[in-house]
Chain length 270, copies 3
């Protein structure tokens, strides 16, 4: 029927995209079991999908969510950082940067619909980079940039994005302690904009999206760009240094050890 | 009598100024029916009045309010932007800049007393540029930088002023959606500092002013300048580019059309 | 016994330091009756003590508090600014800068435990420069940067530190009015992170410290440095100008007069 014809889907291995042409709203669902780790493959698909949507005049907004129950994304895939060559680490980190540059700088309206036991690190970054964050209300769910818990330092552009959302004082404490904030606390801190019952998550995301799409695109896009330009430019200007910093930090024996221990712990949890 | 002699008033067509020499407090009332649009004429009078007060050693603080009931200011006068020459647009925008540079950079204590069905765009900017904002408590009243609703982009220095007041996250959403926040919400967001019953608005403004004037001027002025200098300097350094940006944006066919539609809508409302 | 052997104390005239080697936590207690004024002598001892701890691998965190009841610190010692030579003012201000550079830039975890009738100016700065601030809950206690009350301007780096904690709008008003915020208000504004009953202050500080020390040091230190570097670098780059500004402001007749009046007032209060 007509309604079906209005929907276009393209799917890769790890990112499902569905575009509703009548509303101009796409949904990007991460689907990389068990925990949507941001592997090089997922990141690459994410960037390609986002670029396709960005260039598609039929698409004005994207809702980011997960195809897996109770998982949004576990963050960067640690296996991409353990015992890998400099070339691999370079390629991986460039993909992480690319993902953020495209998402934080997207001219489309971006809404994160987060339902997750835990949404750490890179998963939290995806949410922070959207225009609006909705989270399923449950005492079991949490979100945060928990790099410090792993002995890792969040890069400056994670930090800049975080400060833009929650302010300096909250970011400073949260980053130093690597806190995962329970949903209610995350809402109180401004880390998520809204809590909803889990079964209403996607409906609410669609309603919020409709509110944002009621505005003319051009002025909204210029406004968004004005708000985010300083922080985007900063990574663009220091991209290679940021890769070098990542490599020299990640390849340290102590960090490699700490990452392996964390992987072991994750395996035992299963 | 003596009390009368202590008051000096000077009035232009659109801005009424009364200085109480005993307290050192002036009141500037916008009076340009029907909605205190910030026309070139009003802006020019505003700047001249403010400069007079700034140079008057008898004046230490200014309360900004409206002489019209239920209206603070509807914002920039759209008729000044529709079908006008480059020369006119240049003169107009320079006057808008001048108003903000003088008000945000004023060494006097500035308090906004806002009672308005709606206080959008330029009207909101006046309030944001004061040291303190008091608003009449009514579910009918609202305030915000709603440029995006008109398909217009708030200039970077509106944005900088807004971010200084409400922080980055709230400014980002509010500017992109062109939100007019109801009084209670505006207070919760920090966009206004205090809500009072409408009949107590000016009394409360006077009481707040007295609190601020209890401090020695010199240290307070240097402190204010230290807080606002970075944002003031940014416009001062990019004034001509900002004018060019305004002209090239405003003279676009799509924007001219959108402004004309908005004017039609306003006429029908009356 | 073993427990006693694990504690090392070094004491100067005005700063008591006790390091618990088992936990890695030091406590620095200001002890300069009657009000822990930040004199040149106290500041010098403070810096030396902090440097010792910083270089002591057994020390990972410092709790800052007062050895005097109901007093944290009255702030900078005004007698150091009254009728003194340029050489003395230079030495004094350099010591104030040094204290802040070391404390705000400390790689250790820093927790302020504030119990004070009033914690103004320099006393507040010490608290603001820590990672976490706990205050005894009492309607009699207050904290703030009250320089403006004395006709003095807080230097830009006091301001930067304050803005990082409470944001621009609150800092702007608080600094201009030289407000001392009662404990409950200070907590609401984010100026202190937590209120506790006075008798539990140090226990709670120890518990918070334990939470912070549960994290690996290295990543936490790099994260802290990333958060604070911009503000620290700004003073480091403008240190001599800042000293000159302090001297030319402080030696003004009007300021000298205002400081003498303040000292008289303090004497009468006793």
């Amino acid at each position: 029927g007509l309604l079906l014809a209005q929907r276009r889907a393209f799917s890769n291995n790890k990112v499902l995209v569905e575009l509703d042409q009548s509303s101009g709203v796409a949904t990007m669902k991460l689907k990389s079991p068990p925990v949507n780790s941001l592997s090089l493959e997922l990141l690459t698909e994410f960037c390609i999908s986002l670029e396709k949507l960005e260039n598609d005049r039929a698409c004005r907004g994207v809702i980011f969510t997960s195809a897996l129950p109770k998982v949004f994304s576990s963050g960067l895939d640690i296996t991409e950082m353990c015992g890998k060559s400099t070339e691999h680490l370079t390629e991986f980190w460039r993909a992480v940067q690319e993902m953020w540059l495209r998402l934080y700088g997207s001219s489309m309206v971006t809404v994160a619909a987060v339902n997750a036991i835990s949404s750490p690190a890179g998963g939290c970054l995806i949410a922070l980079s959207c225009d609006y964050r909705i989270m399923a209300e449950s005492p079991k769910y949490s979100i945060g940039l928990n790099e410090a818990q792993l002995g890792i330092v969040a890069p400056f552009w994670f930090k800049d994005t975080f400060v833009n959302v929650v302010g300096h004082r909250i970011a400073e404490r949260s980053l130093q302690l690597g806190l995962l904030h329970p949903a209610t606390e995350a809402h109180k801190l401004g880390l998520v904009d809204e809590l909803v019952p889990e079964e209403k998550l996607l409906d609410r995301a669609a309603a919020v999206m409709a509110q944002w799409l009621a505005l003319p695109d051009h002025a909204r896009q210029l406004t968004k760009s004005m708000m985010r330009k300083a922080v985007l430019d900063r990574l663009a200007a220091h991209r290679e240094e940021d890769i070098q910093r990542f490599i020299s930090f990640t390849t340290k024996d102590s960090i490699q050890k700490s990452l392996r221990m964390y992987m072991e712990m994750l395996k035992k949890k299963k």
